[in-house]
């Protein structure tokens, strides 16, 4: 059974969008929106280690495992630094991931100075090639990997929605009530690291970073209710995937790039709508004369 190319590509985009949006919404609310970008860079030393262990194949299980491990290391180290209370979360993240990336760059230059380890192939995994990589049960590899991760994320967010909401908005109360916000946020960040690695192997880091942040940010401009925001964000990811693919085909441009661009346009639209609404409300509230 072969699926049509269009369906495979758009389906992959939507799966990445949904798998990323589920934990992404909470990242955005927790001021950790840039974690995806950080992990996608910090994965380098893990990929190099995996490449070395597997004896030189890039898109292999060891490289994937290595990337996930360095993703988890990024999350853990930056949380450790931020918890010391001396450095804010954003600066802690900014301290950790360039250092890991630098270590990876040095490892590459020392060991593979003469081999061309194609970093672009890792960072810009190409969505247009997904139909040519068979996975399991006749489904494309990307569907199996990203779809599986999306399913895990859906179970996690669906099953623990109430707990996640509480520990995101009021970690103090969550702790008092006997939940463990730290454990929950650890689980969330672990899922983010795994999702980012699984997805950027399929479609490249750019689209993953965009899907982690932009649909959720767009939705949060339009509503203050978490459930509604999740629905809107999933919708924004779906429409950007379909629209972006159609436009990219018409322009003969990079699918990844155009989908990210459409996401940005949707955000601008939501920002304008929010601005107009705010102005109308202010106009109504202003005293006469």
């Amino acid at each position: 059974m072969t699926l049509p190319f269009d369906l495979v590509i758009v389906g992959t985009a939507v799966m990445v969008a949904w798998a990323c949006t589920l934990p992404g919404l909470f990242l955005v609310l927790r001021r950790q929106a840039l974690l995806g970008d950080a992990i996608s860079h910090a994965a380098l030393p893990g990929i190099v280690a995996g490449y070395w262990l597997s004896g030189g194949s890039l898109a292999s299980l060891p490289a994937l495992v290595g990337a996930s491990l360095s993703g988890l290391l990024t999350v853990g180290l930056s949380a450790l630094i931020a918890r010391s209370g001396r450095v804010k979360e954003d600066a802690a993240l900014g301290l950790v991931f360039p250092a890991l990336f630098a270590a990876g760059v040095i490892a590459v230059s020392l060991n593979y100075g003469n081999v061309h380890l194609d970093l672009d192939a890792v960072l810009y995994g190409e969505i247009a090639y997904t139909p040519f990589r068979p996975g399991w049960l006749g489904l494309p590899a990307a569907w199996v990997l990203v779809g599986g991760m999306g399913l895990v994320n859906a179970l996690f967010v669906g099953g623990l929605f109430k707990e996640l909401r509480l520990s995101t908005f009021d970690p103090g109360l969550a702790r008092t009530l006997g939940f463990s916000p730290r454990l929950l946020s650890g689980a969330l960040l672990t899922l983010v690291a795994l999702t980012v690695v699984a997805a950027f192997e399929a479609v490249g880091a750019v689209l993953v970073v965009a899907f982690l942040v932009v649909p959720s940010a767009t939705a949060l401009l339009l509503t203050r209710r978490l459930g509604t925001a999740l629905g809107l964000a999933l919708g924004a990811g779906l429409s950007a995937s379909v629209l972006g693919y159609v436009v990219a085909l018409a322009l003969d441009a990079s699918i990844t790039g155009v989908v990210a661009g459409v996401l940005g346009l949707q955000f601008v639209g939501a920002l304008a709508a929010q601005g107009l609404r705010a102005r109308r409300v202010r106009g109504r509230a202003a005293p006469q004369g």
Binding site: I106, V209, V214, G257, G261, F267
Partner: protein, 310 residues
């Protein structure tokens, strides 16, 4: 390479690389203080990625890989992205990280789309346009060093001249606004200076590592001082030290005849090491000093409780 310390003062190439990296560290370290204190640490990363569409557009317009044109194009689109992020912060309730993340991924996406368009155009000069984003300190010349010095002096001079205004609009924007100062303009100005520093660094240390040159020196400096002036000076010093030392180390440690250690990566690891040491060892705010204080407080409490029971 076996190098004696004197080589760094006499050899033209070595001197250019070390001086250039140190100057870059000085400028980036100083300006990074503002973004770290504003919780926009990752603005360097954002600007560096957002430069991509500008680089591509400049290439499409000029048709050559002329460094200055590309840097101007990249700088303009980086500036536009950071101003958009400031606008999002101002006109919505989204936080700093989200504003940066949204602009960064949109601009980078558009850049990728442009890059593929250029790739299909078959223009031979486009080869290596992507490599531009990874930086090459080894290619620094005396001319680059002179340019760094001029632009760096301009940026640092602006910070020194507007120190009071920048400080107030950073720590108490409402009061500054009440006093009649253009807070939005001052914030935009310090952001524009940061964009300038990033564009200087892109060529030298590359996108990802540039983010670290803004953050690590500022984090290190914050540990040793409580005043903004002190922090700016110290961060500049730490930045210059890690730039110079990192460049010298990468040159000195490169294996004989090997490809050589990448200067940018060694510089970043040096800066990170300084930051980690400062986090641990600084008196007062250091982690180890904190443990000591905690132990003393515990012992005192135990003594007082024991005394109270008696």
């Amino acid at each position: 390479m076996s190098l004696s310390p004197a080589d760094f003062f006499t050899d033209y190439t070595l001197r250019s690389i070390v001086l250039g990296s140190a100057l870059l560290g000085l400028v980036a370290g100083t300006l990074g203080c503002f973004s770290v204190l504003r919780r926009q640490s990752l603005i360097g990363d954002t600007v560096a990625h957002a430069a991509l569409p500008g680089l591509c557009a400049a290439f499409l317009l000029t048709g050559t890989r002329d460094t200055l044109g590309l840097l101007v194009g990249g700088g303009l689109s980086g500036l536009l992205a950071s101003l958009l992020a400031l606008g999002i912060l101002r006109y919505s309730r989204l936080k700093e990280d989200v504003a940066l993340g949204v602009t960064f991924s949109t601009f980078f996406g558009i850049g990728i789309a442009l890059l593929t368009a250029i790739g299909q155009s078959g223009n031979a000069a486009q080869a290596g346009l992507e490599g531009f984003l990874f930086g090459q300190a080894a290619a620094l010349t005396a001319g680059d060093v002179a340019r760094f010095a001029v632009l760096g002096a301009l940026a640092l001079g602006t910070v020194a001249a507007l120190h009071k205004e920048l400080q107030l609009s950073l720590f108490d924007p409402d009061y500054a606004a009440v006093q009649g100062w253009p807070v939005a303009g001052l914030t935009a100005l310090s952001t524009a200076l940061t964009v300038l520093a990033v564009m200087l660094g892109l060529q030298t240390v590359g996108v990802v590592l540039m983010a670290a040159m803004l953050i690590a020196p500022a984090v290190a400096a914050r540990q040793w001082t409580r005043s903004l002036g002190g922090m700016l000076r110290l961060a500049g010093g730490f930045g210059a030290l890690s730039g110079g030392l990192g460049a010298a180390l990468s040159l000195a440690l490169s294996p004989e005849g090997g490809a050589g250690l990448p200067t940018g990566a060694v510089t970043v690891l040096t800066a990170t090491a300084l930051a980690v040491l400062s986090l641990l060892l600084a008196p007062g705010r250091g982690v180890i000093a904190g443990w000591g204080r905690q132990r003393q407080a515990r012992a005192r409490l135990r003594r007082e409780l024991a005394g109270g029971r008696r």
